[in-house]
């Protein structure tokens, strides 16, 4: 079954990463006039349409850059990694598998993975705590030229995720943060926290499952 994505027809901004396809009906004639969905754009990229990559870049460049910036804590490296991410998206769109998630899920997974690769290659992991609610750089995702409803939607999603993160136990949250932002292996986290490996694996997995359920 074709996956339809929940994308704001006016802005292309995602509404909720975890609410996909179930309550969406197939495209109506009116919907055909709406901006392309992420999936449409990926299909067009597969066919060599460079404008589609531009459109996807327009939607996700800042969130992708923000994620890698957060992980790497370096604007220069974040820029290089974000470049790698969109280059990979452009080059490997034919390998995108809709059954494994919506295009943004793929893009952000690639972004995180690339940033963690860079972090590991850097061989320095500062002990600075990086958490989901770090207020160090707390700019809004969209500048003043963005549509107010777009900003509101983004903030709504972000706030929902932050609330969901709060539902994790402290130990789950700590383990997920160390794995997600610092790219520590399960073994490294176990050593850092002085806990058995199995406990850490369970905390991370249970934490992710809990986040999925809370956000769903």
């Amino acid at each position: 079954m074709e996956t339809y994505l929940q994308v704001r027809p006016d802005s292309g901004l995602l509404v909720s990463p975890l609410h996909m396809s179930d309550d969406l009906t197939p495209a109506s004639p009116k919907a055909e006039a709406a901006p392309a969905t992420d999936l449409d754009l990926v299909e067009r990229i597969k066919n060599g349409d460079s404008t589609a990559l531009d459109a996807l870049y327009e939607r996700y460049s800042s969130p992708v850059y923000s994620l890698v910036w957060k992980i790497l804590q370096s604007p220069e490296e974040a820029e290089d990694v974000a470049l790698d991410v969109f280059w990979q998206v452009g080059r490997q769109a034919d390998r995108y598998d809709p059954s494994r998630g919506a295009p943004p899920a793929w893009i952000f997974t690639v972004a995180r993975s690339r940033a963690i690769d860079r972090l590991r290659a850097r061989h320095r992991r500062e002990d600075r705590t990086i958490s989901f609610d770090d207020p160090a750089v707390n700019l809004d995702p969209l500048d003043e030229e963005a549509a107010p409803d777009m900003v509101a939607s983004f903030r709504q999603t972000r706030d929902a995720v932050r609330e969901a993160v709060k539902t994790l136990s402290a130990v789950q949250r700590q383990a997920v943060e160390l794995a997600f932002f610092k790219g520590l292996t399960h073994v490294e986290i176990a050593e850092k926290l002085g806990q058995p490996l199995g406990t850490i694996k369970t905390r991370i997995r249970q934490g992710l499952i809990k986040l999925r359920k809370t956000l769903d």
Partner: protein, 160 residues
């Protein structure tokens, strides 16, 4: 299961978490860098297509296999295209370690040249659509793909 595989299984959660980090505007020049890199790669691919689609007597290809043993299914495999005048070449390979770093190594007589490198993608594929070739009077006799970190050859092939 590796840590990356765990998160890959929760791609929707990764997406959600990505949205909850403080947002920073991407630098304006990033768009131009993306466009430039894609355009450059497309141009190279197009040039590679024109090269590899020429007749095999003009642009013969060499299959590269793991050295010293018969290749098993799923083991690294490569193809190197080199025109008869040794001016243009293209290289493609598969089944490498995902995200491993590799480099081409050419042998011409007794001389050894290190060529361009690349990082394999997540599926272990790699390519250098247009390979810059070493200059010299001697004809190249072999090409190998070596791991950057270990210097060990993972693929090797004799050039005709």
């Amino acid at each position: 299961m590796t840590e990356d595989a765990v998160f890959a299984g929760f791609a929707d959660v990764v997406w959600a978490l990505a949205l909850c980090v403080p947002q920073v505007e991407a630098p304006a020049r990033l768009r131009e860098r993306v466009r430039g890199r894609i355009a450059g790669f497309c141009a190279e691919r197009e040039a590679a297509f024109h090269l590899v689609s020429r007749p095999a007597d003009l642009v013969p290809s060499t299959t590269l296999t793991p050295p010293g043993k018969r290749r098993r299914r799923g083991a690294p495999l490569g193809r190197f295209f080199l025109d008869r005048r040794e001016r243009k070449a293209a290289f493609f390979c598969w089944y490498l370690a995902p995200r491993g770093s590799y480099q081409l190594r050419f042998t011409a007589g007794r001389r050894v040249f290190l060529g361009p490198g690349f990082t394999a993608d997540l599926t272990g594929d790699g390519e250098i659509p247009i390979v810059p070739l070493p200059r010299g009077a001697e004809k190249m006799t072999s090409v190998a793909l070596v791991e950057v970190t270990s210097g060990k050859a993972v693929l090797r092939g004799a050039l005709a």
